[in-house]
Symmetry: C2
Subunit: 311 residues, 2 copies
Amino acid sequence: MTGRVVVLTGGVGGAKLVLGLAHLIAPEAITAIVNTGDDFRHLGLAISPDIDTLLYTLSGKANGAQGWGREGETWQFMDALRSLGGEDWFNLGDGDLALHIERSAALARGETLSAITRRFGEAWGVRTRMLPMSDDPVATHLATDIGDLPFQRYFVEHRCAPAVGAIRFDGADGASPAPGVIEAIRDPATRAILIAPSNPYLSVDPILAVPGIRRALEAAEAPIVAVSPIVGGKAVKGPTAKLMAELGVAPTPAAVAAHYAGILDGLLVDERDATIDLVIPYDRADTLMTTLDDRVRVAHAALALAERLAR
Amino acid sequence: MTGRVVVLTGGVGGAKLVLGLAHLIAPEAITAIVNTGDDFRHLGLAISPDIDTLLYTLSGKANGAQGWGREGETWQFMDALRSLGGEDWFNLGDGDLALHIERSAALARGETLSAITRRFGEAWGVRTRMLPMSDDPVATHLATDIGDLPFQRYFVEHRCAPAVGAIRFDGADGASPAPGVIEAIRDPATRAILIAPSNPYLSVDPILAVPGIRRALEAAEAPIVAVSPIVGGKAVKGPTAKLMAELGVAPTPAAVAAHYAGILDGLLVDERDATIDLVIPYDRADTLMTTLDDRVRVAHAALALAERLAR
């Protein structure tokens, strides 16, 4: 397949797919549009977890075992912070701090998140184009049975335990797509738009909530294919299936397709899952991405489905 | 000697004297008034080098070899920052970052530098009272042969190499002494006020430049004794002697006494130095502070001189 590929992506699962893609086609031909609804300020620092996961993954610096953070990370900062009685519910590794401190300083100087992200990518030799969904702050909040929680409080501090009733994206209404986002979706050279197997509600919906992005996807020439985040009726990682249950949705490929109704042309379904009620074109594959080969295989299957739909 | 002792102090040399004192009298009876003219913002973080040196020294966490920073410090952050192309002229250790990040976050919440300093001291079991000279920002700048330099650019980035023509303390005119500073100087229970062997021009003058502090010292009941920062015609550490030469002052005890004229009652002179032209009371001692015993000895000699002058 020639041409460019756009991927809407969240954290760990999305980064795996993008890494697989980057081994399949020229990294320069890939544009990753990254969720920033998880971004938050912590101890005054601007933290962009999904951008950083992608950055670590694509630069080969990611912690292979956990999928996020740096390989060989150390924790002297956290030890010292704890000794001062500082807030320690969110772990910040010593090396990881460089991203947050340098990003915070650059934002304070007026640099945009997209410019900073591009600069970090260049510094670490990442050839894939990484775009935050927006340069404006958007903050995912969850209405839960223990009250309103900003995303990281829900995800990290409470380990996704609270039951979720509703999700909102503060600031999304007034946010603009980052420079290049709409252009990449509309680019006639774009042959496929993939939605990574990230959490549809927490990682992809914030991207779709930025005014203009959904409409651009609806109007896109290129076929839009999602990789189902459901594997054998469960989420590979994170709270997707639990969240779907709490929102009253069965954890099935059909539910994923219904969630993306209006923008989705095809779904790559895991071979373990039934496709009952699935009314859009689909292919089946083993979508578990444990090894690099797995990632390349899943990326290949998603692209093949897009290619079939483009005919 | 009973009663309280106040010490005006800068960085490494001053912290040594305070540590010696704290082994001689109850730490709770000591109030250290600390230079904050070296404080600066770096990468958005509020850094208070002299307060931190004192904090590390008194909590037993200081790097014994270099006298500042943490023992067993690691440098993952600096490595990562460098890999991103960040500003790397000022070293920030992984553990050390906890002080700067927690302080910056607290300042942003509206906590004062003195409240933060007290909290850090309590967290680390420091019983000596540590007061910044002011809660208002004061910034030491040097007019040099390569232009105007903020203190840390001169001291760290340029390693004190530029020739200094003049020194100014931006913000000092509008600064107020931190709560407790004037009270400690005036306190009838204060039996001695010591000026640590810190750089008179760079570490002690900023303290004296805060309106109200010099006047309180002039009016103080307690005898004021300085420990000469000159040892055998040189400075033990740092640019004191070089700076005095550039400012056209001979590096002698008499010049130190002249510099503190109007507030000084006595000078503790190193036994290697001549006391020609020294017109105020003095004692002589080996003022080099290499071991803890040295520090206790120098503190003892300074207190003994103060006691003699109080009679």
